[in-house]
Subunit: 212 residues, 2 copies
C-alpha cells in the first residue's frame, strides 16, 4: 500500500482559524523523565482545529453528533479534484464539468493547499456549488480550507450540505497530492455529544473493497 | 463493507485507569444555541484515556513520538485471538499454540472485554509473552485492557514490545467481536511531540490490499 497523510499536524504553534489564540491546541505534560520513569501528557483542543469532521450539530440545532456518524461513511474510493485554478470561490460552474456522481467522496484541491499560513481570503465554496453537491448528493466533501464557507451570515453552505447528509471534512492538507483516484479513510474520535472532531485522514493506493 | 467499531466512546463519565478523576476527559462548550447560531466545543483529554496508541516515548526516554509512526503501520489484515479463557495473565504458553506470524497484527480478546467498569485485577500480558511477541516480532499488538501490563516496576512489558518496534494499542472494545480474521485500521491524531494519542479503531470485512 502507498499512503499519503493528508492530516494537518496538531501543535501549539499551528495555524488556526483567523489566527485566534483561543482556538489553539494546548498540551500539558503531566509526567516526564525529569520527575519519573515514564512520559504522559494531555491535549486540550478545539474540535475545529486542524483537519476535522463537522457533525450536523455544529450548525443545526438538534443535529447529529459526531459519534452518530458511522465510520464506514468516511471510507471508500475518492477523487481529488483539481481546482487550483479557481481564484476566489468554487462555484457550480466550476464543478459541473467534473462529472461528480451521487455517493462520491470528493476532495477539492485549491490554491489553499499552496500556503501554510492563515489567509483571510481563502478559497471557499459558493452556495450554488453546495446546492449542486446536495442535489446529488455526494457522501463526503473534503476541502483544504479551515471552513467550507467564508463569513456567510447563517452559514448557508454548511447547512445545505448537512441537510443533504453530506459529511464535511475541513482543512485537509492536499499540497503533496496529485489530483486523481485514491481510497480515502478519515477517522474522527468517538466523542459522545460532540459537534465535530479532529480526524486523521489518509489517501491510500493499493486498497480496495472486496467480497465479504 | 461490514465494520465493527472497536473504539471506546470518550466522555466525562467514562471508565478511566484506576478510576482516577485526573485522567478523565473534560469537554468545554465554547458556543451553543442559547448564545449564538452555532455550536463549538473543546476536548481536554489524557492521551491514554479510552482506546489509544502508545508511542515509544511513553516508556523510553528519547523514544519516537506519535506523529513519527507511519499510519500504514496500523492498517492491514489482523486476527482477533480468543483468550477469554485466560484467568489472570497471558503467558507465552497461552500464545504458543496460536501460530502467530512475524509482521502480524494481533488483537487479544480476554475476559476484560466482558466488563465495562475498571477492574484492578484486569488480565494483563506477562513478560514471557512479551518476549515471544518481540522475538517474531509482530507489527501491532492490541489489547482490551487499559494497560498491557499491571503495576510492573520499570514497565518491562511495554519496553520489550517497544524496543522490538511493536505498536501497542490499548483499551480496545472487543466484547461484540468474534475471534477471527479482519482488516484492522487504527488512526491516532497527528499530534507533534506526543507520547500517545487516542485512536479511532475499526475492524472491517470486505476490504483488502490490492495491486498498486
Amino acid at each position: 500500500m502507498k499512503i499519503w497523510d493528508i492530516s494537518r499536524p496538531l501543535s501549539e504553534d499551528m495555524t488556526v482559524y483567523k489566527n485566534r489564540d483561543a482556538k489553539r491546541p494546548r498540551r500539558t505534560v503531566t509526567m516526564d523523565y525529569s520527575r519519573g520513569s515514564y512520559f504522559e501528557s494531555r491535549l486540550d483542543t478545539d474540535m475545529h482545529c486542524g483537519t476535522h469532521l463537522d457533525a450536523p450539530l455544529h450548525m443545526i440545532e438538534g443535529g447529529k453528533t459526531i459519534e452518530q456518524i458511522p465510520p464506514g461513511d468516511l471510507m471508500g474510493p475518492c477523487t481529488v479534484m483539481d481546482l487550483t485554478g479557481v481564484k476566489e470561490k468554487i462555484t457550480a460552474a466550476d464543478l459541473e464539468p467534473l462529472d461528480i456522481q451521487p455517493g462520491a467522496i470528493v476532495l477539492l484541491k485549491t490554491a489553499n493547499s499552496l500556503r501554510e499560513d492563515y489567509d483571510p481570503r481563502f478559497v471557499y465554496l459558493e452556495e450554488d456549488a453546495a446546492l449542486l453537491l446536495a442535489s446529488l448528493p455526494v457522501r463526503v466533501l473534503g476541502v483544504d480550507s479551515m471552513s467550507v464557507e467564508r463569513d456567510k451570515p447563517g452559514h448557508p453552505v454548511h447547512k445545505t450540505l448537512m441537510r443533504a447528509g453530506i459529511h464535511i471534512v475541513e482543512d485537509l492538507r492536499l499540497g503533496d497530492v496529485e489530483p486523481g483516484a485514491y481510497f480515502f479513510i478519515a477517522m474522527p474520535l468517538r466523542i459522545r455529544g460532540a459537534e465535530a472532531s479532529p480526524v486523521r485522514a489518509v489517501l491510500v493506493r493499493g486498497m480496495k473493497e472486496a467480497a465479504l
